[in-house]
Amino acid sequence: MTTTKTIVNVGIADTKTVQHPNTIRTLGLGSCVGTVLYDEKRRIAGLSHILLPDSNQARAANSNPMKYADTAIPQLLKMLQDQGARDIKAKMAGGAQMFQAGKGTSFMRIGDKNIEAVQEALRKLNIRIVSSDVGGNLGRTIEFDPETSRLSIRKRNHDIYTI
């Protein structure tokens, strides 16, 4: 019997989950951060692609919680727990600074703020970050395989590597 593998695509300000043999990915992360929460034994995982650090800065009500680190990470955790995940760990990537520093515009440092916000959200939930590939100044495409718990990372003009 053959099984078909599906790749689940996660967009910007989106969060999805996946079970083996399927994999989950998000494309073209710049200053955004991709966070994978996974249960190694049960081979379930989820991926969140956040755009901004803090939902308290939203200037509109009823904002999409998956856009912000502080709201997306707890929701992702709950989605996984609802599917029976228990021993949950994290891997993360992204948060690059895409432009050279200029005069203090909002383009600047957003990557760093996103990284810090995700780390803080994970700390609050007592989730251990097993590995991460953050910062720098290059965009990333990332894909997680719940079968192996490996997160593969691709940058433009670079070979794929896993963490």
Binding site: I12, L27, G28, N64, M98, S106, L138
Partner: protein, 211 residues
């Protein structure tokens, strides 16, 4: 505020902005390169973040993006997006160096010259676009310094959406494409994406008399 029910009238105003702005920018580029530049009919899109990225070829499409924050009576972001080989062609033309290649191997000095040439083109084009828009609306508009990025479209374009994303999950985008058709060369095309902040639309419509 529900800015996402644009009337046909409002859409036409926004298209006119694209026409006037990009038209003026195309003229500037044409003078700069000494070549004929055509402008396509602008489109006004109400797009979610993922759709914005699709407008410029999808999240992994390699692009050169020049991003300007716009300040003044209207605020927002102007993004000029071209493909890598098109940016290469622009640098070749401007520096009179047909051998120039924009790749990982491009060395420090050469890359610096290229970045500075592209930034200058961006300054001229955005300046032309905004001047025309200022004249049309009687509103004061100023661009920031250019932010230049060469990478996947998703990685670069999301930065243009940060302001908008504080308020909504959708952006109104005035997208105008300019093209240059020349023998011995593929079509050169670039996109101007003008992404006004949500608060700016009411001001714009009020100023132009269609509220």
């Amino acid at each position: 505020m529900d800015a996402f029910q644009l009337t046909t009238f409002q859409k036409d105003i926004l298209k006119e902005i694209g026409n006037i702005g990009a038209g003026n920018a195309a003229t500037s580029l044409s003078m700069l390169l000494g070549q004929k530049i055509d402008m396509m009919v602008p489109s006004v899109e109400i797009a979610d973040f993922n759709e914005v990225i699709e407008l410029v070829g999808g999240p992994e499409q390699p692009i050169v993006g020049l991003m300007f924050q716009i300040e003044g009576e209207i605020t927002g972001v102007m993004a000029i997006v071209v493909e890598i080989d098109e940016a290469e062609y622009l640098v070749q033309k401007l520096t009179h160096n047909d051998q120039f290649r924009l790749s990982e191997q491009t060395n420090g000095t050469e890359l610096e010259i290229a970045m500075s040439a592209l930034s200058e083109i961006g300054n001229i084009l955005t300046g032309s676009y905004l001047t025309a828009l200022s004249d049309f609306t009687g509103m004061n508009l100023q661009p920031s310094v250019p932010h230049l990025g060469i990478d996947m479209a998703g990685a670069i374009m999301t930065l243009g959406l940060l302001e908008v994303s504080q308020v909504t999950d959708y952006a109104i985008i005035i997208d105008t494409e300019i093209r240059q058709e020349e023998e011995n060369h593929e079509n050169i095309k670039g996109n101007f994406l003008f992404i006004p902040d949500p608060e700016s639309f009411q001001k714009l419509f009020a100023k132009l008399g269609w509220n």
